[in-house]
């Protein structure tokens, strides 16, 4: 029996779809870790990006934060955090958050920067206070690019959450690591395919969400795709 057939059988075996080591549980763990990390990352990154972008200062700083952030090896951060905090979700959430922040900072900064100065002038002329101007004029216009940053972060976080299994965590990486340890290649391959499928679904789901969230009038002004910080892999 070929490895692919064996993998297909593994995936369709009902016993692999239930229990604490079942596929739904593992997908749930992977998604849970990812949502937590992207949410924490957003809470950190969006305000920083918004402030830097709104005032238009420290632009090089924002870009450099992003470059340094991309250079941080997730594996290293994961192991360091494990040394400090020990077992549990915290080390992987820290490593994934570090991964999620840079694209969101960059994209948010660029998004706010790109708001037409005439629009800002008009808002001020209409008597908007600074805070209201950011909230009600600049942010809606910046949503497409910000969402693109969130999407980039989310996709790479979902894929990288696989590393949790290296430090006894859960998620789909469990199948990959356990399959290797038990010479059970179908399990490993199934894990790899499930991660890939989950990452692709995340991409499509968030693309759909972005379409819903972006005000209709702004969709036409959508920034060219090349401006979006491309997906970026660290694991």
């Amino acid at each position: 029996m070929s490895l692919l057939q064996a993998t297909f059988q593994w995936l369709t075996d009902p016993s692999h779809w239930q229990g604490i080591d079942g596929i739904p549980t593992r997908i749930g763990e992977q998604v849970h870790l990812s949502i937590e990390s992207v949410a924490i990352g957003a809470v950190i990154a969006l305000p920083v990006g918004i402030v830097l972008g709104h005032y238009g200062r420290f632009g090089t700083l924002a870009i450099n934060i992003s470059n340094v952030g991309r250079a941080v090896p997730s594996f290293g951060i994961l192991v360091i955090a494990f040394q400090v905090f020990g077992l549990g979700d915290l080390p992987i959430v820290i490593a994934l958050t570090a991964l999620a922040v840079p694209p969101m900072v960059t994209n948010t900064y660029v998004a706010l920067r790109e708001v037409d100065p005439d629009v800002k002038d008009a808002a001020r002329g209409m008597g908007y206070r600074e805070f209201a101007q950011v909230l009600r004029v600049e942010l809606p216009l910046a949503v497409p690019l910000i969402m693109a940053g969130v999407r980039t972060s989310a996709v790479q976080v979902v894929a990288t959450a696989t590393l949790a299994a290296l430090i006894a965590g859960g998620g789909l990486g469990r199948y990959i690591v356990d399959g290797l340890a038990r010479s059970d290649y179908p399990r490993t391959l199934a894990g790899a395919l499930l991660v890939a499928a989950l990452a692709l679904s995340t991409e499509f789901l968030l693309a759909g969400l972005q379409r819903v969230l972006v005000p209709r009038g702004i969709r036409l002004l959508n920034a060219p795709a090349s401006r979006r910080a491309g997906t970026f892999k660290t694991a």
Binding site: A159, L166, G179, Y185, V195
Partner: protein, 225 residues
């Protein structure tokens, strides 16, 4: 009973005495790290450049959607899984490490080659046609040079990304600095772990600056971001 459960509580983040006697060990890891990175980038370029050019030249072959779909799908598979899956076929060592790394870089680079070629203004192409350039000559001598800024941008992303992923090849006995991270994990020993993580960041930043510098020399009309 106050048993002292953990020795690593007294392990400093950097043990300078250990580090000072292990410079050659760390340097060997850096060398392996750079070798793996350079091969991955060179391999990625060797595939992505011809592929991007061919996709642009023969649009009727639908190479563009095919390449983006194949390598895009490949890109979503985590490296640790690919390394594991390749072992039965390609064994241990450089080839198993490089197949995923090169594959990831092909996606990043081919996308940028295409973005760069797409961005060549139609006026320029008209002018080249008017000057009597044949399609191939126009592509290689006019369009490709104009696409260089985008290609360089892709190369920088690929470089920084590769330097990070190379650490994961420690799971198949390579890893460069990843080997030090693994040792830190296995022995609960902070020094190699911290040193390797910091060096990874430094390598990535230096490589990024270096490529930006080369770009400035090669393509002075377009400033690196």
């Amino acid at each position: 009973m106050p048993s002292r459960l953990f020795l690593d509580l007294v392990d400093p983040w950097i043990n300078w005495a250990w580090l000072s006697t292990h410079i050659p060990y760390v340097w060997a890891a850096v060398e392996q790290h750079l070798t793996l990175t350079v091969i991955a980038l060179a391999g990625g370029l060797a595939i992505a450049l011809p592929l991007g050019i061919a996709a642009r030249r023969w649009t009727n072959l639908h190479l563009r959607p095919a390449a983006l779909a194949v390598f895009g799908g490949f890109y979503t598979i985590p490296s640790i899984a690919l390394f594991a899956l390749l072992i039965p076929y390609t064994g241990l060592g450089t080839l198993t490490a490089e197949i995923p790394l090169v594959g990831y870089n092909v996606l990043i680079l081919v996308r940028n080659v295409l973005v760069g070629l797409d961005a060549v203004p139609p006026d320029v192409i008209d002018a080249a046609n008017g000057m009597g350039y044949r399609p191939w000559a126009r592509l290689l001598r006019i369009e490709l040079p104009l696409a260089l800024p985008a290609i360089f941008a892709g190369l920088r992303v690929a470089t920084v990304s590769t330097i990070g992923i190379v650490t994961i090849t420690a799971v198949i006995g390579l890893g460069g600095l990843g080997q030090l991270i693994l040792r830190g994990l296995i022995e609960s020993f902070h020094t190699p772990l911290v040193v390797a993580t910091v060096l990874c960041i430094v390598l990535a930043l230096v490589a990024d600056l270096l490529i930006a510098g080369v770009q400035r020399l090669a393509v002075p009309w377009a400033r690196p971001a």
